[in-house]
C-alpha cells in the first residue's frame, strides 16, 4: 500500500473541502463583493442576451445530400477570384462568423472578397459508409466545379481549416488545375509527432472498435476527448472564469456564443473517421506521398500554385509539428509558412488575431490576384439551388 493510500479519511475530506473552498473562494472574494456580484449576475442572466452566431447573411447556392454550399457576397466585389472555404468535419464552420466584431467572413467581405463556404451538415446513420474519397472527389469537387462554372473561371482560391485543410491538401494534389492559390490554416499534414495529445492518444486508438460500437462517431464523444486534452482549464478554470465575470453582460454573451459553437458538434461519418485515423494518425501516409484516394496516389509535389500555410504556436490540437513540414514537401516555389502566437481557436476568434489573421490572407491573395489562369472553366451544367438564409435569431434570454 502506498503512502498516499494511508492518508486518513479526515484528510481526504479536508482536501476536497479545500478544493471547493479554493474554487468558490476565488469566484467569490469578499462576502459583500459576492452579494453585489450575485445581484449583477441575476440582472445579466435574466435580461435578453444577444448570443446568436453566424449572423452574416448568406445564400445556399448548392446542395448535395447533407452538404450545402453557402455564398457570402460583399457589397462591392473587388477580387476577381472567389475564395472557397472548406471547414473540418469536426464542429461547424460557424466559427468563422462567431460574432460581428470577430468574424473572419465579415473581414473578407469588407475587403471585397466573395466567399463560398462548405457546410458539411449533420451526418446521419445513412452517411456512415461515406469515405474520404466521397468527401474530397465527391462533394468538394462538385461544389468547386459549381463555383468555377457559375463565375466562368478556371480556378478558385481554396482555403482549408484544420481537418478541412487536410482535405484541401488532398484535393489540390489531385486537382491542381482547379486551384489558383491555396491557404491552409492549422492544417495537420504530418501526424508523426508526440507534441500533441491527440497524436499520442490516436496511436493506440482502435477506430474499428469505435465504428463497430457507434457507427458514425458521436460529436459528443469527440467533445469529451477535446475536453480531456486539458481538463483543469477546460472543465474547471473556464467556468470559474465565467462565475467571476457573470456580472459582465458582454463577457457572458461572448462566453455563451463560444459555448454554442463548441458544443454544436456533428457526428463524424464512420468510414471517413476510420480512414482518417488509420491512414493519417497511424500510418502518416499523406506527408510521405503514399496516400491514395479512389485509387489515385496523392503526390504533394503536384501542388505547384502559391501556398500560404498558417498555424498557431500554442495550438494543442494541431501542434506546429503537424503543420510546419508541409511547405517543404510541395512543388510550389511561391510558398510561405506563418506561425502566429496563438492557439487552435484563438487564430480565428481572438480580438488580437482579427487584426493579423484574415487581413494577412487578404493581402497575400491580393498580391497574387493578377497571375495567370492556364485552364479553361468547366461548361457542365450543375444542379444549383438558391435558398436565402433565414434572418438571424432575435436576442434571447439564456
Amino acid at each position: 500500500m502506498t503512502e498516499r493510500d494511508n492518508k486518513s479519511w479526515n484528510e481526504i475530506v479536508e482536501s476536497m473541502k479545500t478544493a471547493t473552498d479554493i474554487v468558490f473562494g476565488k469566484a467569490a472574494g469578499e462576502p459583500a463583493k459576492l452579494m453585489k456580484r450575485l445581484s449583477d449576475a441575476r440582472e445579466v442572466l435574466l435580461s435578453p442576451l444577444k448570443t446568436d452566431i453566424a449572423s452574416t447573411p448568406y445564400e445556399v447556392v448548392y446542395e448535395s445530400d447533407r452538404v450545402t454550399l453557402k455564398h457570402y457576397k460583399p457589397a462591392e466585389v473587388k477580387f476577381k477570384t472567389p475564395l472557397f472555404i472548406c471547414y473540418a468535419m469536426v464542429n461547424r464552420e460557424t466559427m468563422l462568423d462567431l460574432q460581428s466584431d470577430r468574424s473572419v467572413v465579415k473581414t473578407f467581405l469588407n475587403s471585397g472578397l466573395e466567399v463560398y463556404m462548405m457546410d458539411w451538415g449533420y451526418p446521419t446513420r445513412k452517411d456512415r459508409y461515406l469515405t474520404l474519397e466521397d468527401h474530397v472527389n465527391g462533394y468538394m469537387d462538385e461544389m468547386i466545379d459549381f463555383v468555377r462554372e457559375k463565375h466562368g473561371i478556371p480556378q478558385v482560391h481554396l482555403m482549408g481549416i484544420c481537418m478541412g485543410g487536410t482535405l484541401c491538401v488532398m484535393y489540390t494534389a489531385l486537382h491542381p488545375e482547379k486551384i489558383k492559390n491555396l491557404v491552409t490554416t492549422v492544417t495537420p499534414v504530418n501526424f508523426e509527432t508526440d507534441q500533441g495529445l491527440l497524436n499520442v492518444w490516436a496511436k493506440s486508438l482502435d477506430p474499428d472498435a469505435l465504428v463497430q460500437a457507434y457507427g458514425n462517431i458521436p460529436g459528443d464523444l469527440l467533445n469529451v476527448a477535446f475536453l480531456l486534452l486539458n481538463p483543469a482549464r477546460l472543465m474547471i478554470d473556464k467556468y470559474v472564469g465565467f462565475l467571476e465575470n457573470v456580472h459582465d453582460k458582454d463577457f457572458v454573451e461572448n462566453f455563451v456564443r463560444m459555448e454554442k459553437w463548441i458544443f454544436d458538434s456533428p457526428d463524424l461519418p464512420a468510414e471517413a473517421f476510420r480512414e482518417f485515423i488509420k491512414k493519417l494518425y497511424h500510418e502518416n501516409l499523406l506527408i510521405q506521398n503514399k496516400m491514395a484516394l479512389g485509387g489515385k496516389l496523392i503526390d504533394l509535389k503536384k501542388i505547384t500554385m502559391p501556398v500560404l500555410n498558417i498555424y498557431g504556436k500554442f495550438d494543442h490540437l494541431v501542434p506546429p509539428a503537424c503543420c510546419d513540414q508541409f511547405v517543404n514537401k510541395i512543388g510550389s516555389k511561391d510558398k510561405e509558412d506563418v506561425c502566429l502566437q496563438t492557439g487552435h481557436i484563438g487564430i480565428y476568434v481572438s480580438s488580437k488575431m482579427q487584426r493579423e489573421f484574415a487581413p494577412r490572407i487578404l493581402r497575400w491573395l491580393a498580391e497574387r490576384e493578377e497571375r495567370g489562369s492556364p485552364v479553361a472553366p468547366p461548361t457542365r451544367k450543375k444542379r444549383a439551388v438558391s435558398r436565402k438564409r433565414p434572418a438571424p435569431e432575435p436576442a434571447t434570454a439564456q
Binding site: S8, W9, K26, R128, L205, A209, R233, D237
Partner: protein
C-alpha cells in the same frame, strides 16, 4: 481444510451480518407500523417471512451440497464485501480515533472494486458461461454475453474514472500541504483565495498533462473503448433478438439498406459522369 475453514468463517460472518440486517429491518418495520404512517399496507409478518426465505435460499446456495461454480457465491460476495469495508465501518463513530483508525476512502473503494472484479472473474463469469441448451440457447447466450460485457465495461470504466480523478485529489492534497508547511514555517505562500486557486489550477494542469500523455492513460483509454465496443455490440445483438418479431427495423436492417443505397448512388453518379463525358 483451509477452504472449509474459510467457508465456515464466511458463513459465520454472513450469519452475523444477516441477523443484524434482519433485526434492523424488523425494528424499522415495527416502528413504521406503530407510527402515524402505520396504516400503510406494511405486513410485518409477511416481511419477516420473506427475509427468512431469502436467508434459507442464500444458505442453500452457500452449502457444500450445492455443486458448480456458484456454490459459495453468496458467501464469497459477502465475505469479499465485508473484507473491504470492515476496517472503515469498525472505526469509532466520532473523535480523533476515527482519523487514525479509519482507512483511506480511496484505498477502501479500490479494494472494494478489486474484490468485486476478482469475484466477477472467478465466480460470476463462470456462471454466465455455463453452456446453454435447447431451442432458445442462442438467445440465452446473448443475454449472458450482454451481462458479462456490461460488467466488463463497468470494471474498465471504473478504473478509467479512478485514474482520471487521481490528479485532482493528489494536487489538492499537495497544495494544501504546501500552503500548510509554508505557514508553519512563518511564510505566507499565498495571500488570498485567488492566489491559492491559481497555484492549485496550475499544479492541477501540470498533473493532468503528465497523466494524459502517460502510457498508463493511453492503455486505460484503449481498454475502456474496447470494453465499450464489446458491450454495445452485445447489447445491440440483444435488441435485435427482442425486436425481430416486431415491425421495427433494427440497426442491422437499416445498415444493410444504407449500404445498398450508398453503392447505388455511387454507381448512378459514375454513370452520370460517363454520360456527360460522352455528350
Amino acid at each position: 481444510m483451509g477452504q472449509e475453514k474459510e467457508s465456515e468463517q464466511g458463513n459465520s460472518l454472513y450469519s452475523a451480518w444477516f441477523k443484524a440486517s434482519k433485526d434492523y429491518w424488523d425494528t424499522s418495520a415495527k416502528m413504521l407500523s406503530e407510527s402515524p404512517l402505520g396504516k400503510t399496507p406494511l405486513d410485518q409478518g409477511a416481511f419477516t417471512e420473506q427475509m427468512n426465505t431469502w436467508q434459507e435460499f442464500m444458505k442453500a446456495m452457500g452449502s457444500p451440497e450445492v455443486s458448480g461454480p456458484g456454490k459459495n457465491l453468496s458467501v464469497e460476495i459477502f465475505t469479499k464485501y465485508m473484507e473491504s469495508v470492515w476496517p472503515f465501518l469498525s472505526a469509532p463513530a466520532d473523535g480523533e480515533g476515527k482519523a487514525e483508525k479509519a482507512e483511506d476512502l480511496r484505498a477502501m473503494s479500490k479494494r472494494m472494486a478489486k474484490s468485486w472484479f476478482e469475484l466477477f472473474d472467478n465466480e460470476l463469469r463462470k456462471v454466465l458461461n455455463i453452456p446453454q441448451l435447447g431451442l432458445t440457447r442462442y438467445y440465452q447466450e446473448h443475454v449472458a454475453r450482454a451481462i458479462e460485457e456490461y460488467n466488463d465495461f463497468q470494471i474498465t470504466m471504473a478504473n478509467f474514472v479512478n485514474l482520471l480523478t487521481e490528479p485532482l485529489i493528489e494536487t489538492t492534497e499537495k497544495v494544501r500541504e504546501q500552503v500548510k508547511t509554508a505557514r508553519e514555517g512563518g511564510e505566507e505562500l499565498v495571500k488570498d483565495a485567488k492566489e491559492q486557486y491559481k497555484l492549485w489550477i496550475n499544479k492541477l494542469e501540470e498533473a493532468y498533462l503528465e497523466l494524459l500523455k502517460s502510457p498508463e492513460y493511453t492503455s486505460a483509454l484503449s481498454e475502456v473503448l474496447k470494453a465499450l465496443r464489446d458491450y454495445k455490440v452485445s447489447r445491440q445483438q440483444l435488441l435485435i433478438d427482442l425486436f425481430q418479431d416486431l415491425p421495427v427495423p433494427t440497426h442491422k436492417d437499416m445498415d444493410e439498406l444504407y449500404k445498398e443505397l450508398y453503392y447505388l448512388k455511387k454507381r448512378v453518379k459514375e454513370l452520370e459522369k460517363r454520360g456527360k463525358k460522352n455528350d
